[in-house]
Amino acid sequence: MTESTSDKPVLLTMKNLRIEGRADETWAEIVHGIDLTLHKGEVLGLIGESGAGKSTVGLAAMGFTRDGCRISGGEIVFDGIDLMQASEATRRELRGKRIAYVAQSAAASFNPAHKLMDQYCEAPVQHGVMNRDEAERDAVDLYRRMQLPEPDVIGFRYPHQVSGGQLQRAMTAMAMACRPDLIIFDEPTTALDVTTQIEVLAAIRNIVEQFDTAAIYITHDLAVVAQMADRIKVLLKGDEVEEADTRSMLAAPKEDYTKSLWAVRSHARAEQPPVAADKVPVVSVQNITAGYGSVDVLQDVSFDIHERRTVAVVGESGSGKSTTARVITGLLVPRQGQILFDGATLPPDYRRRTRDQLRQAQMIYQMADTALNPKLRIRDLIGRPAQMYLGLQGKALTERIRNLLELIELEPDDYIDRLPSELSGGQKQRIGIARALAAEPKFIICDEVTSALDQLVAEGILKLLDKLQTEFDLAYMFITHDLATVKAIADEVVVMKEGKVIEQGPKSEMFQPPHDPYTELLLSSVPEMDPDWLTDLLRERDAR
């Protein structure tokens, strides 16, 4: 990151930018008068939760709006050119050549029918910046700078032949092709695993510095933005909350909303007394080997979960954490090994389990949209398990439903007859919790339940789960890929990679060295709220 850039010339200004979005047949304002100033070579971090309008503002910097959006007011001036007054042809000239865009999903944003090299060369050749040969040589150079494997050959592959992290770097290289003055990065690492994310972040920062490009870095991850940006602007529901240079904002945020965003990562679970050695675990996973067809997805996985304890199962995609959950619930029959519940072996297939056995173990899913039947009302969604497992009817049933709604902190009269479509993401997730509780289980599997939620909302869910655990003596298995969440809620941690348990133990032990090298990699890859974190990490890794 460069030091003070306020003495460099101004590149982009937005004054009182207003954008409207269309829902059904009516237009409503979604961005309410944002001001923005960007200097040459400066990186501005645009941060906010979903619905804040970050992407919309980022695209507006190119004079572009998506279908269903329109710029309704304000001024956008790029290097002296008024983008609102300019013709579409002028704007098109700028795009790709002087302002470039890096999308969130590289896999979807590359044309599957053309090789990477063809797509790289398209912008410079069409805008008249280079001819094809020069562009090809330049591509190889940039691929090398982005530390892509086999830089002279990789351009001649098709997008589907290249992995996600590599594609994201290739897209960044493509954005650089015309040496633009400004690049807009729209959540470029959100979809990547934490270990891959490091490489992409490093590559992006390098190249932006090397070419002295200005950038707008859009993300919802505070720690990431701390690494990448010189200044940070916080957005909330289309309004600007605060803006300051990175170090000042991290050290002393002024607004309450900003403070609450910062504080989210400080929630931590109280240390629990160690479990008595002879206590029978609620769930005991013993030597499970399982797979689909001839491929083994899990190999010799074992761990225990005790009453009133939370075991966090951590791993990246493909580690087998969700598969383990499927084996425990009986959806996947393991090839070897067994699951014990309260000391008794469970039938491996859920169809062979008794109703009571099914009742004791419940599951809460990641995406509330697909976890709740959109055609059923809350009363039925929560009531059905209570009816099936506990035989409640009529008044007793309604009483229980209202009880549960109170437990999940939703006003019963208000919510009991609603449909899921009328609820927010966080509220739907609470209904998922209530549905699990309705069965009065002893054990709940939380499958990435906060991964799809905004940080503040996720915080609320974690606190609720904590409270319920104490009240009802529940045992939790918490599946996640996010180490910050692990710190916040776990008593014990199980680290998985490619179907095997790499390391397991109490939380306090896990976050201190010595570690298995993979755990070390995982822990160190989690960005922290320190602007120098990335620089220090890279220096450390280079030194090894």
Binding site: L59, M62, F64, R66, R92, E93, L94, R95, G96, K97, A100, Y101, A103, S105, A108, S109, F110, N111, P112, A113, H114, E122, A123, Q126, H127, R157, Y158, H160, Q161
Partner: protein, 318 residues
């Protein structure tokens, strides 16, 4: 690249298998009848002698698998047996008519395919414009009309009482190509109108779906001109869905031909089929049904293979 050839070979094998099973189905359908087909066929005229004669003619006294093998070997050699109505070899009845029907179908396809692709793509590009809404409503209206309705309207409007085109299409007198095209213009037009409507709507839907893809937005964000975005980015990915649309509708053309031939008294396979069904002339019905089904299977197979070849994800493996 060799894996793509093995994929195609598998598809071909599957197609042949389907054809085999279809022939079994067409042949074996007669077995479904609870009674005896010979008695059904003769109806009032059934006497023990005539029933026995028909039975022998159709080989109904032999076990089914023997009959089937005989029939199949005959078919492969071009012998479809004899017609029950007039004792002539079925293959004689079919041969000229097959050519006529193919001519009509190709005539209609040659007009319909380019026309509907063009209209469909334009409607997708100018989505929600007046042109789009009007053509959508017209297409919807057109596919709702029974073919005979369209045919009669055309006859009413363009033929009869000093009209421009003949209302009965025939190939008598060994006409030239131009003369043939003139005489069969109305039936071809009828077919074209119905098929174009279907194809246009499907093409429009496929293109609109395509245009919503993120990589199209990315191309725009790179500052590419609209024409370039359509031609270089959208079109290569549109091949597979469009091929599918064309194959589906050409297959539909096969059945549309039947009604059109009857209205215009055109000497084709469709007309033959209808007459034979009315007379319950089993050998002819089976033969024509087999030909139509084979064409259908072949079309679907070709579409499948072409779609595979135009998908870079399948052609270039990881």
């Amino acid at each position: 690249m060799s894996h793509i050839w093995s994929m195609i070979a598998k598809r071909l094998a599957l197609g042949l298998l389907t054809l085999f099973i279809v022939s079994l189905l067409i042949f074996g359908a007669t077995e479904l009848l609870p009674g005896d087909f010979a008695e059904e066929f003769l109806g009032q005229a059934a006497t023990p002698e005539t029933v026995a004669a028909i039975r022998r003619e159709l080989g109904l006294d032999l076990p089914m698998h023997t009959r089937y093998i005989e029939w199949l070997t005959g078919v492969v050699q071009g012998d479809f047996g004899n017609s029950l109505s007039n004792r002539r070899p079925v293959v004689d009845l079919i041969s000229t008519r097959l050519g006529n029907t193919l001519f009509l179908a190709l005539y209609a396809a040659a007009i319909a395919v380019p026309l509907s692709l063009m209209l469909g793509i334009l409607a997708a590009l100018f989505r929600n414009s007046f042109f789009d809404r009007f053509s959508n409503a017209s297409a919807l209206t057109s596919i709702s009309f029974p073919e005979f309705f369209v045919a009669y309207i055309l006859i009413f409007w363009l033929a009869g009482r000093g009209g421009m085109f003949p209302s009965m299409a025939s190939f008598r007198g060994d006409p030239s190509l131009g003369e043939m095209l003139y005489r069969t213009f109305l039936p071809a037009l009828t077919l074209t109108l119905v098929v174009t409507a279907h194809m246009m709507r499907m093409t429009r839907a496929a293109i609109i779906n395509l245009l919503a893809s993120p990589y199209i937005e990315m191309a725009r964000l790179k500052g590419m001109k609209p024409m370039r975005v359509i031609v270089r980015h959208a079109l290569p990915n549109a091949l597979a869905p469009i091929i599918n649309v064309i194959a589906l509708n050409l297959a539909y053309l096969i059945t549309g031909v039947v009604v059109v031939e009857v209205v215009f008294v055109f000497p084709g396979l469709g007309q033959l089929m209808v007459d034979s069904v009315a007379a319950r002339d089993m050998p002819v019905v089976q033969a024509v049904a087999l030909i139509f089904a084979a064409a259908y299977v072949l079309l679907n197979l070709t579409a499948d293979v072409l779609a595979t070849l135009s998908n870079p994800r399948l052609v270039h493996r990881r």
